[in-house]
Amino acid sequence: MRWTHGMTVDRVTDLRRGKLVSANAPTAGSVLSLERLGVTFTSPRGVVHAVRNLSLTVGPGECLGVVGESGAGKSQAFLAALGLLVPNGRATGAVRFGSLDLLALRAPELDRIRGAQIGLVFQDPMTSLTPHLRIGDQIAEPLVRHRGMSFAEARTRALALLNQVHVTDAERRMRQYPHELSGGMRQRVMIAIALSCDPQLLIADEPTTALDVTIQAQILSLLAELKRSRGMSMVLITHDMGAVAGVADRVAVMRRGEVVEVGSVGAIFKAPQHAYTRELLAAVQGTSAHLSTAVASHGAAVLDAETAAGGAAIPETGAAAAEATRLAGTAIGAVAHADRAGDALGSRVGSSPTDNVAGLQAVSSPTLVLDDLRVNFKIRTRPFGKQQTLVAVDGVSLKLAAGEALGVVGESGSGKSTLARAALQLVRPESGTVVWLGRQVDALAQNALRPLRRDVQVIFQDPLASLDPRMTAAEIIAEPLQVHRPELDRAAREAAVLRALDLVRLDRELAGRYPHELSGGQCQRVGIARAMVTQPQLLICDEPVSALDATVQEQIMNLLAELKRETGLSILFISHNLSVVRQLCDRILVLYLGRMMELAPAESIYSRPLHPYTAELLESAPIADPDIQPARLARALLGEPPSPLSPPSGCVYRTRCPHAVPLCADRVPAWEEADPARWVACHRWRDLVP
């Protein structure tokens, strides 16, 4: 009987210990072999089959990548193999490790293998480390337990391990607690713990999902390096095809609890057999395709062919597009305008929207203007300590033209979410101005702002959490109408809701459902419908696709692009992922620690980044191509983002910048116009970019 994660309280006597066969001699071929594994969960709602009839092997010294979208059961399979299921889960089949069947072992016997011969790294380092034990002790524990070392010996070894995983200032870290470390460091500590007893096999369950993209690259690079240096077998479970491309030797694709395809990494990526694999790759490579061609030519300063071709057509399409936008306004279903706009742009559906930028900016007045925005937060690091000021956004200015999509990209701590909230006046800026459709709003009271909110709407990151769980989809979508169009009667409201549903391509039958009965993508569509029902002119998107599967991401991004085309909507799109914004955005702004680093048309950011940070972001963004990704990983830079409470002097990026010189510490770089419509804040961009 299990009370937690595969732990039993039966007393296993020492007799059984004697019966345990040594597991140090693996049978030829595989280190770990899952045979016809099935995992089920029983709940009051019924039985859920998370994994069906799964058979996989991991060979010595190889890395098996297990990919699939959420609900595929990939994590559950390996958790079951190691007896780590929640109490209402059951596993059937066999799991061979050496000469043992892991599923047949009781918990005390399993304990001898877990942590000693098989190491595990989990997804969320924040919650996966024990909060009240020091780092050093947590690494030393398995050593004391499995290797019989004394605590002192174990600690020495722990220190060595921390250095192996490139944790800086290891001595000090040993005595710290998990919450004092950054996400990337915590994950390194997890890896160190998993490696402490020199396991034969390391299982990494979504090790990079909760991390920033630059840190992701570092961790993956570390894993690849460890695999090589130790000759260890590895299982990398992830939804990120790019991660797999960089580290894995073989790949297994899972869907709904079953393996649909297995093969070498080259075969899977280049010549996928199964339709689902192809679908997955298409979704991922769709976004990173531009990235890969652009990055491949990075440094060669070759203009992308598309831009060159499109450049000549700028005057005509620009003017036509501008006029269409002005005429279309924001009327949903204004077919004539949409058609005209569609004609002018329809033939260029997949092309870069950059062409329109110059034309648009010249003609219509900007939808959103932020001028030298600064947002502070007062926080206390200790319950009764001194209050400190955190500068979340430091001097950000931008102009968003009508019908334009501007992407704001940055990692955690960059202030991008705060920027979105300040733009929405959900957070009041310390200084600077915010202008909506020509009206200055930063000084207005909330009451005065209310009627203006009709034209400025927002969609959020967590699709489920942004919907009231007690309201149906129809009620949620209708709510803005009750605020902004109270004169509408019930019939008119219902009609508007239906129109909004059609606009976001959501089935009308789903209108009566509650959020917890909708999938992530459907929830997000409801959120978009709610935002669009008042026919706004500006839509602020705060990481709306980060929490969605790759295929769904693609759909939502396409939807947004369509909406922009059809209605002339202006979009401010916040994201941490450069590849995702590529499809949609005309221009891109890169933020770091609340300051602007670079602002440029989308095309040129990818082909010719001027700022070293932009270059690092591009380098870290995973590309689903096994030929180039491993080499890119090897080049991943080290370095952690500094704390926003004490930003570095001068250029805030200098602590991680490979090109930093003393000047960078003395003076804040000016925001200068490097090319027409390209701006950068760096002292050395001229030297660095050909």
């Binding site: 969960f41 709940s43 009051p44 859920v48 998370a50 979208e69 959420s70 609900g71 059961g73 559950q76 889960g89 969320d124 999902t209 909760a210 991390l211 939804h239 709904r256 955690s412 929405l424 959900l426 009451n447 209310r450 909110r453 927002v458 959020f460 990151q461 967590d462 699709p463 489920l464 959490a465 942004s466 919907l467 009231d468 769980p469 007690r470 149906t472 709510e479 803005p480 605020v483 902004h484 219902e494 089935d507 009308r508 039958e509 209108a511 009566g512 459902r513 509650y514 959020p515 009965e517 999938s519 992530g520 929830c523 709610r530 990481e543 980060s546 929490a547 969605l548 599967d549 295929t551």
Partner: protein, 313 residues
């Protein structure tokens, strides 16, 4: 970064395969789901039945019995239960039928606890919700006030109140007991409101342009109803306890009225010679409290299911 929220509610495929429905027809709301869960919980249903039965007995009992609540039966003073003369549960020291007295005691206990719960909820929920939603200075002040009141011995306040006014008057008891309960209610509701206010759909409502009262009314309160109901079900037994406690000390209901607490007090004094005087009201009290506690637990489980036990993925 956010990748951990990959599966919301249902996977895409599962959502697609559900059959179509007519326009705007509602699927089972969270309320009906909770009701179903509750109905399946046999212990809870049994507890609810017990409470119902006890309430019926309290109301009907005296009507059925041949004795009045204050009629003294000189022939059978402190008689044992089921003795001659249809005193089903015996009599007390003065010859009053214990069954009828206990029924009256039940009535009083139930009424006092229900009214006090209502009062404490009314004050506590408003206080807590406003503090939690408005936040900032107002919140600090409001909760400071609660903290200070908390550190006053509530017994002391109640004693003062009861000695200020006529002893044993019911309205005073309602207010005194209710006034004690609202402090904890306010704290809990404030906590719930705080965590609600941080959720994204509240931010979305603000971004849509709803005013704070509208947010409170349309989004916060409906989402609070669940915890409030569950909490109320658990507060009622506490109120019963507190009232009994006061009556036991002689500060609550006065003669000739009786509550379970005063009956137990009387019974405790005679327990060596006539133990049924203690056991009968005590038994009723314990059963009543247990039923309410079980029902309350089941309600909070039904309205806020945690241990559903799916994969964590």
């Amino acid at each position: 970064m956010g990748g951990s929220i990959r599966a919301c509610g249902m996977s895409e495929a599962a959502a697609e395969s559900t059959s179509t429905m007519s326009d705007f027809r509602r699927t089972p709301s969270l309320w009906s789901k909770a009701a179903v869960r509750l109905r399946h919980n046999r212990v809870a249903m049994a507890a609810a039945a017990v409470i119902f039965v006890l309430a019926c007995v309290a109301i009907m009992g005296p009507l059925v019995s041949p004795y009045a609540v204050d009629s003294l039966d000189w022939d059978r003073l402190a008689a044992a239960p089921l003795g001659p003369g249809s005193h089903w549960l015996g009599t007390d020291r003065l010859g009053r039928d214990l069954f009828v007295r206990t029924c009256h005691g039940l009535r009083i206990s139930l009424v006092i606890s229900l009214v006090s719960t209502a009062i404490s909820l009314a004050i506590g929920v408003t206080w807590g919700a406003v503090a939690g939603l408005v936040g900032g200075r107002t919140d600090e002040l409001m909760m400071r006030f609660v903290d200070i009141l908390y550190s006053l011995p509530y017994l002391f306040i109640v004693i003062i109140l009861t000695t200020l006014f006529e002893r044993g008057s019911l309205p005073v008891l309602f207010c005194a007991i209710g006034a004690v309960g609202w402090l904890t209610t306010a704290r809990i509701i404030r906590g719930q409101t705080l965590s609600l206010a941080r959720r994204e759909f509240i931010e979305a409502a603000r971004a849509t342009g709803l005013s704070t009262p509208a947010i409170l009314l349309r989004h916060i309160i409906p989402n609070l109803v669940g915890p409030i109901v569950a909490y109320a079900a658990l507060t009622i037994p506490q109120m019963i306890l507190f009232e009994s406690f006061l009556s036991f000390l002689g500060l609550g209901v006065q003669e000739p009225l009786a509550s379970l607490g005063s009956l137990i007090n009387d019974g405790a004094q005679e327990m060596q010679s006539a133990p049924w005087m203690l056991l009968v009201p005590a038994g009723f009290l314990v059963v009543l409290l247990m039923s309410f506690n079980l029902l309350g637990d089941a309600l909070s489980d039904a309205l806020d299911p945690r241990d559903d036990g799916g994969p964590r993925d």
